[in-house]
């Protein structure tokens, strides 16, 4: 009997580490669909661009697994769970017993049905997995014109890598702007500008209607607007969805992802979920949502691990945050960034210097900060998370929040002296560590 983790990303690693703070003995088994030890998927961009070597993409050294008695089943896929007998079934027919199970299977690329028939062509790939990276790497010397379908986080980072490799890049994006989930229209302007500066053709409110294939290779893309592009390669970067196919037939409650409580437990005893696959409490929205971001995968994996090993820990909830740069333009944004219809009461405060490519925006509801956008103005901005998490009164701090130089000096004396001298440091996860019997 042991701990079993389905998935091999940041949530899995964090869970191993927190399990080992309590239980040093029992084996941990990681089931990894990919034939690789845990690595940083966002690093694929940087590997293609030539900034990071493959051997530096791994999150932990080999010794980590030996030292912590972690067995990684590489290239094995979970195909089913039998909660009654506490068994995970694998694609090779093997069955693995678990005492506590963590589902941290992450996301899988979302491919709309119209594109499915093209996915086996030799010059098309997604931009998520190790094999995608190797496929693209192999193609690189022979390709020049590359079309990226989707201008979100993955698409933009793929574009950056390709531009650094002197490729001609086209991006087709359905919405009015790139990075539509993490930035507003005004902020996206600075990314559009940077894309244009680097000779990237951006087709907004547009997408691919069909591809023209010759000898198993995609040669042309026909856009909805009628334009026809000659292309040597296609990257599909539309998005990801939680990978939950293997839980069919169980009583694990799902919505878009697997629903979890604040201990990361699912509706079934001894089964936990964390990371991109989990639909967990979001502290800004005040409801359960999926939120595929690296930092909350780590946080949730850590919380799940504590609870699996018998230490009580509860998750304060996710604060969505994203940091993304495209060449010289960098963005950090937090919480709710759009004036969604459900937030009509939103008050927007902005500072903009188009001449310096600087833009800052704060979204405020009922005197509380619920979201923020910072373009090319990221100095010490992590301090902002305090205002969202702790619901500090906005009016009192409005000026520092909009200023370029946020710091502690504008906080109340008691607050700042306590915080800058904190012995344990800050914890967004609010792990209330109590030993349970």
């Amino acid at each position: 009997m042991s701990y079993v983790i389905i998935g091999n990303g940041p949530a899995a690693i964090a869970a191993c580490e927190s399990i080992r703070t309590t239980d040093k003995e029992k084996q941990i088994i990681i089931i990894s669909k990919e034939d690789k030890y845990a690595y940083g998927r966002p690093l694929i961009t940087y590997q293609i661009a030539g900034i990071v070597e493959k051997e530096n993409m791994f999150l932990r050294k080999k010794e980590f697994y030996e030292k912590n008695n972690i067995k990684v089943l590489l290239g094995k896929e979970a195909t089913g769970i039998d909660p009654k007998n506490k068994i995970v079934k694998l694609d090779d027919g093997a069955q693995i017993n678990y005492e506590k199970l963590l589902i941290a299977s992450g996301g899988t690329p979302f491919i709309p049905p119209v594109y499915k028939e093209y996915m086996d062509k030799e010059n098309i790939t997604t931009f998520i997995k190790w094999e995608d990276m190797e496929k693209l790497e192999k193609m690189l010397p022979e390709i020049n014109n590359v079309l990226i379908v989707g201008g979100g986080l993955i698409g933009i980072k793929a574009a950056e890598a390709l531009v650094m490799k002197n490729k001609k890049v086209f991006i087709a994006e359905l919405s009015k702007r790139v990075l539509s989930t993490v930035i507003d229209n005004k902020g996206a302007y600075y990314f559009h500008k940077e894309l244009e500066k680097n000779n990237i053709f951006l087709f907004l409110e547009n997408t691919v209607k069909s591809f023209k294939v010759k000898k198993n290779r995609i040669e042309k893309a026909v856009l909805q607007s009628g334009e026809v592009l000659d292309i040597d390669a296609v990257i599909m970067a539309i998005g990801v969805k939680p990978e939950i196919s293997f839980i069919k037939g169980t009583n694990i409650n799902t919505n878009v992802g697997i629903l979890v409580d604040d201990s990361m437990k699912t509706s079934v005893d001894d089964i936990y979920a964390a990371g991109d696959v989990a639909e967990s409490y979001d502290l800004v929205y005040g409801s359960k949502r999926i939120g595929p971001i690296w930092v909350s995968a780590s946080e949730q994996g850590r919380i799940a691990g504590y609870n699996m090993a018998g230490k009580k820990a509860s998750y304060r909830g996710r604060l969505i945050m994203n940091s993304i740069s495209f060449l010289k333009t960098s963005l950090i944004s937090y919480g709710i960034i759009n004036t969604d219809i459900e937030y009509e009461k939103i008050n927007v405060f902005e500072y903009e210097r188009p001449d310096l490519n600087i833009y800052r925006r704060l979204n405020v509801v009922d005197n509380r900060l619920i979201g923020a956008i910072f373009v090319n103005s990221i100095y010490r901005k992590g301090i902002i998370t305090r205002f969202i998490i702790e619901k500090l009164p906005f009016d009192k701090y409005k000026d520092i929040l909009l200023s370029p130089n946020i710091g502690f000096i504008e906080f109340e004396k008691e607050y700042r002296n306590r915080e800058i001298n904190s012995v344990k440091g800050y914890s967004k996860t609010k792990t209330n560590l109590e030993n349970t019997v």
């Binding site: 690093l43 990071v52 990221i378 710091g407 502690f408």
Partner: protein, 150 residues
Amino acid sequence: MKKLYFREEWCVGCGRCEVACAIEHSESKHPIIAYFHEKIRQTPRIVVERKGNISFANTCRHCEEPDCVNACIAGALYKDESGKVLYNPNKCVGCYSCIMACPYGAIMKDINRKERKQIVKCDLCNTRKEGPACAEACPNRAIIFEEKEG
């Protein structure tokens, strides 16, 4: 573990801690060479904030559950056995997720390193026998390096 603690009543805002930090993290560890002759001028890992007659220094708290480590996509930030939160520049890709996540604003862009995006952060002068250079440089004992119960 021993950490840095800051006493604003004692701070005169002289900024010597920032200078000592930048020099300590330079190659030569010599003030003039470090500032004028080295290829990359070091960015201080400690910040002195000033307003009117209030001033104080602050830097990384080496958190028990560091948000920067949770946020790092590259495995470049890590907690060592002693509890220090350390940085491996060779693994860093300059995504600035740590800057986004750190609630102390303790991680800075390495602004003078032009060829590659990197960050700097306090390492408590990990390899310095005498302990952190900032605490030693403070003329007023406004920065203390000691172990406290939390």
